[in-house]
């Protein structure tokens, strides 16, 4: 389906949600991404992406526990759905296929 294509950032966020497994909520995802990508992330962007992923039914969400640090408010925890996993697999497959099909000469001397 055309409408359900994974964007690059969506893919990264989805992977991070999978990585954090049981503690995937927006602040955690954001911090994880900031560390890994070594650039500051914004809550808004991450939050919206997660909303979009949920609309595409690639993730599911539930409310987690509340902490004092959050002023007693609950956090929304995300987990990857089967459809989400499938989408990731597909994206990975496409990349792998592409890598596999790149002719040796394409990257010039450095590979040869």
């Amino acid at each position: 389906m055309k409408g359900a294509q994974l964007g690059e950032f969506e893919e990264i966020v989805l992977l991070t949600i999978a990585l954090l497994y049981d503690d995937a909520y927006s602040v955690a995802v954001m911090e994880e991404l900031s560390n890994r990508l070594e650039r500051p992330m914004r809550l808004g962007a991450v939050h919206r992406t997660m909303q979009r992923l949920e609309e595409k039914e690639l993730v599911q969400s539930r409310f987690g526990e509340s902490t004092a640090e959050r002023g007693g408010r609950r956090k929304r925890l995300f987990t990857v759905t089967t459809a989400g996993e499938q989408a990731l697999q597909e994206a990975r497959k496409i990349r792998n296929d592409l890598w596999a099909d790149i002719p040796k000469a394409a990257f010039g001397g450095s590979l040869a």
């Binding site: 389906m1 409408g3 359900a4 909520y25 927006s26 602040v27 954001m30 914004r42 809550l43 808004g44 962007a45 939050h47 919206r48 909303q51 595409k56 039914e57 690639l58 409310f63 509340s66 902490t67 004092a68 640090e69 959050r70 002023g71 408010r73 609950r74 956090k75 929304r76 089967t82 459809a83 989400g84 499938q86 989408a87 597909e90």
Partner: protein, 899 residues
């Protein structure tokens, strides 16, 4: 509150900025509020811990700013039924524009149209009329704007014009001296081609065998054929090089020779020269500036007329001809203008200080692109022209379309309550907002499509009338893909514009509220509707005011005292044989009893063809020599034939031999010259002495009947004759008189078909411009009112329907029919009064501007505005009353039964 950045572990005590927190609370959608606030607070504390409170606060605000996005305040989507798919790639979103859906939309649209036939009819009719008017105006504008574009050298062709100052007035004219053409052609390499032409009217008699035809033609230089890219259908490529040749249009060729090949045939003109047909060219389209039935070679004038050969060829003073010029590719006309500016002056200056100091003749190029729509000059500068009407009517067209669209929106939103339930059920069953928008938009596009078909029929049916009205011959080019593309885009645009508001509005209803029954279209919905009605009526009312003022001005001009009697006055082109036998002709005509008076003049009775400066009189200063006098040349019986009552003195008389040097002035001339006792005064002009014998009132023979009358000299000149004027015996009917006159003219003028003009008909033609504008605005105005009333009618019926129960209750409680009628009409009357208050000053201002361009004009009277208000109220009440009374007369038992 602490704000020291060093207290790193004070995390729990510092708080995020209160205002930011408050703002977030307000704008965040309820279902996101908890988690987002939590996230933000958590982040804040972490940052406060790491970087200090100040930075954390700043970051908090920054994050909030970046959170701003429609997703932040968008409400949680309605839980809708969605089939669950396990595979991500199978998840299908309902497509709003899937063919099946579109088919469904159309089906529903049709059902809705047929279910509410009345409203559909009003909707479609209103839109169709609006579209038809817009299309007609579009066709008209296209015709105006594309004028002359068929000439291949459109970009490089120019008319050479001349600015001169007379009596302090800088005027612009086409008339230039004879030698200018050769001068431009030989001395200025900027020009690719130059063609002189003869400006005056060229109605001549063409004789083939024993048949005579009156046709219009011009003498024109041979370059003109290529300059104007006249398409030669038959014959010589350069057909005007020999003096004794003639070029016919295909139309003229058919009239003269039927189906025979005209090339090489002989045509005799004015019963004096034989010309050989050298080519046939296509007739020019009706909107072209260059119009002719035939063309004569420029050199033929020299061959025919001694005075051209001997005098005109070298006379730089007599401005009587015109010249077209074509610049070479890539030459900037501004540079050429600078070069040719003084070309006339340099030929005059040596022997004429007045020209250098006062008249200051200056030649310039006027591009073909401006010939038709930018033809007016004030103080020697191009100030526009007909383009203002083109602009005005494009605005009118747009407004009419907007009015029609407003109607559509108004009716659709008014109907929204009826359809609210439908929307609720649809939403409950699972249709998304896009689908509802899709449905409503397809409905409006369908209506627009149907309106288009009707509009096309209206346009086709009314085009002949429209052509008569505008004196054009416009057609719809059905083969033109641009037309179809344009029309379809236009329809789509109209449909989308008209449908956008109802589509967005209706689809936003919340199903729960509608279906619970608490749904009410509140004030929010009626206000825009009211504004739309006011806009609509303000436009119709200003059009109405404008139209009335235009007609008043038209009547004002028609009722202007002319100083002569135009009824029963005819003029006939003179010819050599008529003048040779003038005395016999006059005696025979008078003997018939059909003619009460006859005279010879140099111009038809409603025009002047010559004007001259250089008059000297007692007390005139050197500056007065540049005063221009309109010149009428005549001999005996001019005032009697024209029906002019002299103010002072007398007409030229056969009893006074000295009258051959006589001159009659009009009152404007007497005033300009400052004469106390004009009769008997001596004047000098053209190296001759003249004596004033009489004074006539200001007779209106200007090209526009709204202009001030210029000073005039009526001079006695026996041989300066272009027309013979006849006053028909008032006791006889014109047609009977013509029957008696004709044989006499045929006898003395055998080479010409008998042709005559009635002065009153010719005079009426001067109002063409005002009449065209008046008629067009009247049409636009009537249709605007019609469309607005349609809308009002529909709206009133909805409101009446909406308030049926209320009216029932009121009736039961004892309200009279008059009460109810007032109740339902009041709102609309208010709106129309507001519209009137808005429209009146705008219309007043615009019409004052319009009247500025006239010298003889009306002053706008308040009664126009009062009258229009009264008419508007009357129309409104008539429209609304039908519905109001219908509702008021309903039996309350029926309306209240269902509760």
């Amino acid at each position: 509150m602490k704000s020291t950045p060093t207290t790193h572990n004070a995390g729990q005590n510092v708080k995020p900025p209160r205002w930011a927190n408050w703002l977030m609370e307000r704008i965040t959608a309820p279902h996101l509020r908890e988690e987002l606030q939590g996230d933000m607070e958590e982040l804040f504390h972490r940052r406060a811990h790491r970087h200090g409170a100040t930075k954390a606060r700043f970051m908090y605000a920054w994050d909030l700013l970046l959170l701003i996005h429609p997703r932040l305040w968008r409400r949680e989507p309605e839980p809708t039924f969605k089939p669950r798919y396990t595979k991500y790639s199978d998840v299908s979103k309902p497509l709003s524009f899937h063919p099946v859906m579109v088919r469904n939309y159309l089906k529903l649209a049709f059902r809705n149209l047929t279910k509410y036939k009345g409203y559909s009819a009003i909707n479609i009719a209103g839109l169709a009329v609006g579209m038809a008017v817009t299309m007609l105006i579009g066709i008209w504008i296209q015709d105006e704007v594309s004028a002359n574009k068929h000439h291949k050298n459109y970009e490089t062709l120019y008319q050479v014009k001349l600015n001169q100052t007379f009596d302090g007035q800088r005027g612009t004219q086409d008339a230039i001296p004879f030698p200018l053409g050769d001068e431009l052609k030989t001395k200025y390499p900027d020009f690719k081609a130059v063609a002189m032409y003869q400006r005056s009217e060229g109605t001549r008699s063409l004789i083939v065998g024993d048949q005579k035809f009156l046709k219009n033609g011009i003498y024109i230089g041979q370059d003109a054929i290529d300059m104007f890219s006249l398409s030669i259908l038959n014959g010589d490529r350069n057909p005007l090089k020999e003096p004794y040749s003639i070029v016919l249009t295909d139309e003229t060729a058919r009239t003269l020779f039927g189906n025979q090949d005209p090339i090489g045939k002989i045509v005799r003109i004015d019963n004096s020269v034989d010309l050989k047909v050298t080519a046939v060219v296509a007739k020019q389209p009706a909107n072209a500036t260059l119009q002719f039935d035939y063309l004569l070679p420029w050199q033929l004038q020299e061959a025919r007329f001694d005075w051209v050969r001997n005098k005109a060829k070298t006379d730089w003073r007599n401005n009587d001809w015109g010249v077209f010029a074509q610049l070479k590719e890539g030459i900037d006309p501004a540079q050429t203008n600078a070069k040719i500016k003084d070309v006339i002056l340099t030929h005059l200056a040596a022997n004429d200080p007045t020209s250098r100091n006062q008249v200051k003749p200056e030649v310039f190029l006027h591009p073909m692109a401006k010939w038709r729509l930018y033809s007016e000059f004030t103080d020697g500068k191009n100030t526009g022209g007909f383009i203002k009407y083109v602009r005005l009517f494009s605005i009118f067209g747009l407004f009419i379309l907007v009015i029609a669209c407003i109607n559509f929106m108004n009716l659709s939103t008014a109907r929204s309550e009826k359809r609210a339930k439908e929307v609720g059920v649809r939403k409950a069953v699972g249709s998304g907002r896009e689908q509802l928008i899709g449905q409503f938009l397809s409905e409006s596009i369908l209506i627009a499509g149907m309106a288009l078909v009707i509009a096309l029929v209206i346009v086709l049916a009314s085009l002949p009338f429209f052509n008569t009205l505008t004196e054009k011959s416009m057609t719809i080019e059905f083969g033109n893909p641009l037309l179809w593309g344009g029309t379809l885009a236009f329809t789509l645009f109209t449909g989308l514009l008209a449908g956008s508001y109802p589509a967005l509005y209706l689809s936003s209803f919340s199903p729960v509220k509608i279906l619970k029954g608490t749904f009410q279209v509140g004030k929010g919905a009626t206000l825009p509707r009211k504004i739309l009605v006011v806009v609509q009526f303000a436009f119709s009312i200003s059009l109405m005011i404008g139209t009335i003022i235009i007609y008043q001005q038209l009547e004002h001009g028609k009722n202007r005292p002319l100083g002569f009697t135009k009824a029963g006055l005819i003029s006939i082109n003179s010819s050599k044989s008529l003048l040779d036998h003038y005395d016999a002709l006059r005696d025979e005509l008078m003997a018939t009893g059909a003619v009460s008076s006859i005279c010879k003049t140099n111009a038809p009775p409603t025009q002047w063809w010559s004007s001259n400066s250089g008059w000297k009189w007692k007390g005139a200063g050197p500056a007065d020599e540049s005063v221009i006098f309109t010149t009428i040349a005549t001999s005996y019986d001019y005032t009697k034939t024209m029906g002019i009552k002299l103010k002072e003195g007398r007409d030229f008389s056969r009893a006074f031999a000295t009258d051959s040097a006589g001159v009659i002035l009009n009152e404007a001339a007497v005033k300009r010259m400052g004469l106390k006792h004009p009769v008997g005064e001596r004047m000098r002009w053209a190296n001759r002495d003249w004596t004033v014998v009489g004074v006539v009132p200001d007779i209106v023979v200007e090209w526009s009947p709204y202009r001030a009358v210029a000073p005039m000299t009526i001079i006695f000149a026996k041989d300066w004759v272009n027309f013979i004027d006849l006053r028909i015996n008032p006791a006889m009917s014109p047609s009977a008189a013509i029957d008696k006159i004709q044989p006499i003219f045929d006898k003395y003028n055998p080479a010409y078909p008998f042709d005559y003009q009635f002065a009153d008909v010719e005079y009426a033609k001067k109002f063409r411009y005002e009449e065209l504008v008046g008629n067009l605005s009247a049409v636009v105005c009537l249709l605007a009112i019609f469309i607005s009333c349609l809308g009002l009618f529909g709206l009133a019926s909805f409101i009446a329907e909406q308030r049926t129960k209320e009216i029932g209750v009121r009736k039961v409680l004892g309200a009279s029919i008059a009460n109810l009628w007032g109740l339902l009409s009041k709102d609309f009357v208010q709106l129309v009064i507001i519209a009137c208050l808005i429209a009146s000053p705008i219309a007043w201002y615009a019409m004052n501007q319009w009247l500025e361009s006239y010298t003889y004009k009306i002053t706008i009277h308040i009664s126009v505005f009062v009258g229009v208000l009264a008419i508007a109220l009357l129309i409104t009440l008539l429209t609304v009353s039908y519905q109001a009374l219908k509702a008021a007369l309903l039996n309350p038992v029926k309306t209240l039964r269902s509760e």
